[in-house]
């Protein structure tokens, strides 16, 4: 049987951009409208029957979600990653996209996962419902605007330790100088612990100490 080169099949889709990354990886970029057609084509005409994964990426700055469909062909021994972008939507008008469940059964799992983690509704997917986060009522947590670090700081209490050695150091005028959460919550680590930061921290400590003294008197 004459094999049709994969590019020829892919090029049937309007506006497609094909990037051959290496022998077993092809990246294609298509419009959201053309993506189901593309998947149908490569499944039906080029044996790409194994849906390896669907990934959602939140490009918050572009106000878009990127959906990536990784499809493998056992015969071609090649993986096509089909990228498309959809509107990110808003709280009142969540993002929607069409399900590929009728083409690939495993889409059930991936689409449900994306629905739960990113809030994208896939029309035609059999189970648009909660799965992992059954007791979660907040925003979909994988969204870039959900700050997990802040959530943790607000929700959980760090253990406070008071070992003897720390007491000794504190008595000598030392003790805790830079807490790990100070470094982490700053987000950008490269600005920390320089002398200004430390001076500020020291000044704050001195002030706090003065306040304490005031209380004692």
């Amino acid at each position: 049987m004459n094999k049709v080169p994969i590019d020829e099949i892919l090029n049937k889709v309007n506006g497609i951009k094909i990037t051959h990354k290496r022998k077993t990886r092809i990246r294609v970029d298509v419009d959201a409208d053309s993506l189901p057609t593309l998947l149908e084509l490569i499944k039906g005409r080029a044996s790409y029957i194994h849906l390896s994964a669907i990934t959602c990426v939140d490009w918050i700055a572009d106000n878009q979600f990127e959906l990536v469909y990784h499809v493998w062909s056992y015969e071609e021994k090649c993986l096509i990653s089909a990228h498309t972008r959809i509107d990110r939507g808003s709280e009142s008008n969540p993002a929607k996209y069409v399900s590929v469940y009728d083409l690939f059964k495993p889409a059930d799992f991936f689409e449900r996962d994306i629905f739960e983690m990113y809030g994208v509704t896939f029309i035609g997917s059999p189970r648009m419902e909660k799965f992992i986060l059954t007791e979660w009522n907040g925003v979909p947590p994988m969204l870039k605007d959900f700050d997990a670090e802040a959530y943790v700081q607000e929700t959980f209490k760090w253990t406070d330790y008071n070992p003897d050695w720390l007491q000794e150091l504190t008595d000598q005028g030392g003790g805790i100088a830079v807490k790990p959460e100070d470094i982490r919550t700053a987000g950008n680590t490269h600005n920390m612990s320089t002398h200004r930061e430390r001076d500020k921290a020291k000044a704050a400590a001195v002030k706090a100490n003065e306040k304490m003294q005031g209380w004692k008197q």
């Binding site: 330790y161 070992p163 050695w165 150091l169 000598q172 830079v178 790990p180 470094i183 600005n191 612990s193």
Partner: protein, 608 residues
């Protein structure tokens, strides 16, 4: 391998074959912890003497398990890159990945083969430990995971800096150092662990970690923005800074071959690759739109004076700088040879400062052309920043001969273009960087005029031990054919028939005592004569404070020969501040730092 066919039914008797196990020796393991493997990631230990408090372990810790604690009993010295912070570890969070071990610039933190810790519920404090040479239970265990060359996460080697070959540079004053390419700069910048020790050490507290990061990200304009926050002499400092930052750099503290980041060359790279127009825009950022109506006079257009002027102008004040010489820059222009600092770079720094609105009056000598009293009358504040422009003499016999000259005077003549007779042979007395500067400058002039170099440097100090000049200077001087005679004390300038014939020196056996103070021992028998047409004295400098006038001199408080200032540069006289070399000793970056301090204080004073 025996094949098993899916269709075999198996046998109910097969499992019974394992009854033979009753005849086998039982496997027994002793109770209690067994020694873990030689590279086990057990509990932490930290060599408190090796640790410098750079906090890299804290930053790499992916579980926020490391808290930096301040230990007052440990030495803290910013200029050496030592902080008294040490890591404490929360084993409630630690995941024993050992990234802290692998990143530690000084290999202070390591892990042992100890791995058992048991405690009751009310002993949770025992999870938070302060590792020393011993681990969690205060016992010494064999080391487990320690850093190896492979696991080291840091790049220890500095990118090599290209230099002009000695033959190519000896007959001209062209800049010697090539500078980085973009690729090299990014690679060099990528080595930075962002500990901030450099920023602590820098007298002006330049935001080195920030601009290194910007360079790494390829954003040179942003790098320059960071620089101009603290230093309007970034071109100059990118070339001739004493780079205390590099001494402090945590990467330089590593064992074996571990180079500090080439912070100075990175600064130079960023400055060289951003256009002058852009730099002018950057320099203007934050300039006050409002005029304060206050005016300030600055005496001396060197780094200290101009930095103060730059800051004050940006704060909305009117600043006039008085300079006795025809161009600005002070010692950076009239002391540093062109091959180390091309004058066009200095010109640019000054042009940028002027573009912000600093007015410089050249060829005006305060004390002669205009008195201090007049300056006081015309202004709300005066800044003295005249530097140290007068050379010291050894005053050994014969040193009053006219062919015995001072290095600073000669160095000043070269950029001014003043004519003087280049000696066929010369001896330089002194072992500091000024001695090297004049020796190398004269060598170039000799090469141009006579096509051969005949310079001897004679210094009290011993090479490789007590020598004052930078190693690079010594190496490059030797490459250029300059003879350095170390550990020799000048005895006399030999004069015959009123004509200088050379210098006689005596051997120095040792120069400093145990306290590091001057206590020379000489070998009187070991005399040497160096023939020379000229002897150049480069032993020290002083400030020409006579321009203050007797009255002001008497009114001021002094501190061991220098004007007494407080931490902000204010003198004992209300309207007068002093900054730079004349109060702090010679160093560009210190002068810049001083300029900022003084400007801040004056601004506060004027807004009172």
């Amino acid at each position: 391998m025996k094949k098993i066919n899916y269709n075999d039914k198996g046998s109910i008797l097969n499992p019974l074959k394992n009854l033979q196990f009753y005849a086998r020796k039982p496997v027994t393991e002793p109770l209690g912890p067994r020694p873990a493997s030689a590279s086990y990631r057990g509990f932490h230990i930290n060599d408190l003497d090796k640790c410098i408090g750079c906090s890299s372990c804290q930053k790499i810790c992916d579980n926020a398990a490391i808290t930096m604690v301040e230990v007052p009993s440990i030495e803290e010295d910013a200029s050496k890159g030592l902080r008294n912070l040490r890591p404490a570890i929360d084993y409630g969070r630690c995941c024993w990945c050992a990234l802290c071990v692998d990143i530690c610039p000084t290999s202070a933190i390591e892990m042992t083969r100890e791995y058992v810790h048991v405690c009751d519920g009310d002993e949770t404090d025992s999870y938070f430990i302060f590792p020393k040479e011993t681990g969690i239970h205060g016992d010494s265990f064999e080391k487990g995971w320690t850093k190896t060359e492979d696991s080291d996460l840091l790049d220890r080697a500095r990118r090599p800096m290209g230099e002009m070959e000695p033959e190519a540079r000896i007959d001209n004053f062209d800049e010697i150092v090539d500078g980085f390419t973009m690729e090299m700069a990014i690679e060099e910048a990528s080595r930075c662990v962002d500990c901030g020790l450099c920023e602590d050490a820098c007298p002006a507290h330049m935001h080195a970690p920030n601009y290194i990061r910007s360079i790494y990200e390829g954003n040179l304009e942003q790098a320059v923005e960071w620089m101009y926050e603290t230093n309007p002499f970034s071109h100059v400092c990118g070339r001739v800074c004493t780079h205390i930052c590099e001494t402090a750099c945590s990467l330089g503290h590593g064992e074996g071959e571990s180079d500090p980041i080439a912070i100075r060359w990175l600064k130079r790279f960023a400055m060289d690759n951003v256009s002058k127009t852009k730099i002018k825009q950057i320099a203007r950022k934050g300039k006050s739109r409002k005029k304060s109506g206050k005016s300030i006079a600055v005496v001396g257009a060197g780094p200290a004076g101009l930095t103060a002027a730059f800051d004050l102008v940006k704060k909305g004040h009117k600043v006039t700088v008085y300079e006795s010489l025809p161009k600005a820059g002070g010692m950076t222009r009239y002391g540093i040879p062109n091959y180390r600092l091309p004058k066009d770079r200095l010109d640019q720094d000054i042009e940028v400062i002027q573009s912000v609105g600093v007015d410089i009056k050249y060829n005006v000598k305060v004390g002669t052309d205009i008195s201090m009293a007049q300056l006081q009358k015309d202004n709300h504040a005066v800044v003295m920043a005249i530097g140290m422009q007068m050379g010291r003499s050894t005053r050994i016999p014969g040193s009053d001969n006219k062919m015995v000259v001072k290095a600073v005077d000669l160095l000043r003549m070269i950029p001014k273009g003043d004519e003087f007779n280049v000696p066929k042979s010369a001896v330089v007395i002194g072992g500091g960087n000024v001695a090297m500067d004049i020796a190398r400058s004269l060598a170039r002039l000799q090469k141009q005029k006579y096509n051969e170099v005949n310079i001897t440097v004679s210094a009290l100090e011993q090479l490789g031990k007590t020598f004052l000049a930078d190693d690079d200077e010594v190496i490059e001087s030797k490459e250029e054919g300059i003879v350095i005679l170390d550990a020799r004390g000048p005895k006399q300038c030999v004069i015959e028939n009123n004509k200088l014939t050379g210098l006689e020196t005596v051997k120095v056996i040792s120069i400093f005592d145990e306290q590091g103070r001057f206590a020379p021992k000489y070998d009187e028998e070991n005399l040497q004569f160096h023939e020379a047409d000229m002897v150049v004295e480069a032993i020290g400098q002083m400030s020409d404070v006579s321009i203050l006038g007797d009255e002001l001199t008497e009114e001021l408080e002094w501190n061991r020969g220098r004007i007494q200032i407080d931490g902000n540069g204010a003198t004992s006289v209300e309207w007068l501040w002093s900054a730079g070399d004349m109060v702090k000793g010679p160093d560009v970056i210190n002068a810049v730092a001083d300029g900022h301090r003084v400007a801040d204080d004056i601004d506060k004073f004027l807004n009172k």
